[in-house]
């Protein structure tokens, strides 16, 4: 009986490790930017090409930076969630229109239920995206009053993620 105990223990440990490995999403890479200052950027606005938006403009506010594009399929999934969030008027959402065309982006917004963004910044060549460590769209960053990145959500924002993580943290940051 004891002869089998040791292999059995090894087997169970192996199963636990493999099971944990299966649950991990290999696409969710922890961002080294959490706890760091938001990268500086100054980009043209989507709806007013002669005006600019920078991270400095949002100083003193807790805000979300949502990376999106008209070519991004899963952005369609999160779009209603963002519109819903904007209607609640709890937090400002800035869009980063990543590697997109201006006309296509604007059409996409009207076709998919409206514009949840306070302003969208145009990052046509994706350079600002690289500064944010963007590798998949959509990605969403929660940034505090001092311009420090506090949380990163990879993939489409869900109502669940907003309720359990993003909004509670945002409220805490707004108070503090």
């Amino acid at each position: 009986m004891r002869r089998f105990l040791f292999p059995l223990v090894i087997f169970i440990v192996l199963v636990v490790f493999l099971a944990a490995g299966l649950r991990l999403n290999p696409r969710e890479v922890p961002s080294p930017l959490i706890g760091k200052q938001v990268p500086t950027f100054r980009l043209a606005q989507l709806h007013a090409g002669d005006k600019f938006i920078s991270a400095e403009d949002m100083r003193g506010k807790v805000w979300l930076l949502n990376v999106w594009a008209s070519w991004c399929v899963s952005c369609r999934q999160e779009h209603p969630v963002l519109i819903d969030l904007q209607k609640q008027n709890k937090i400002a959402i800035i869009g980063l229109n990543y590697k997109d065309e201006r006309a296509a982006a604007m059409t996409w917004l009207t076709q998919h239920g409206g514009d949840p963004y306070l302003v969208s910044a145009v990052d046509a060549d994706g350079r600002v995206g690289i500064d944010f460590g963007v590798y998949g769209v959509p990605e969403t960053f929660l940034i505090d009053k001092n311009g420090v990145i506090r949380y990163k959500h990879i993939g489409p924002v869900t109502a669940e993620a907003l309720k359990t993580k993003i909004l509670p943290l945002a409220e805490e940051l707004a108070r503090g």
Binding site: R27, V29, S31, P32, I130, D131, G133, G136
Partner: protein
Amino acid sequence: MVDRMMGCVAAAQKLCEAVSPGGTVPALRRFLVVVLLVLGMQPAIAAEGMAQPVGDPLVEARVNKLAEELRCLTCMGQSIADSQSSFSTDMKREIRAMIVAGKNDKEIMEFMVQRYGDFVLYRPPVKSTTWVLWGGPFLFLILSLVFLMLKLRKRRGQNATELTASEHQQAVELLGKREVDRP
């Protein structure tokens, strides 16, 4: 690139429709046509993703050397050098720009790590969060050797039972009365 591929699939399906309206082409054959046409488009699809080479071969060699060391985060198990995804194309463009701007390899790698973390490196540095990764296999090797040694020692102990005088006598007889050393 995916769009292009979907375009191919759609075109192939249209072709099937044209050849046999109303879908009388059996599903399997239809599927084969789609597969063959998409495969036929591979070189075109690949060429589209290629980074545009810049004149200087020295710069390109450095771009490639650095790109080999970096993981493509959107494609599993490929380096940036191997991949032609839009992410890797952008990364190669950034690396090329930094080389042209006179940055050294270390600065370029730091640029990547600051944005994408140690995970982007195929050879992450040894530190508190990565020692298990580096030391783990050796730890396992040492543990297994210790285990093996303990097991072997135990076995040797079990086998080395002392012979009684009569048993020894019996052994001598069986071995043909040759001189046998007493233990």
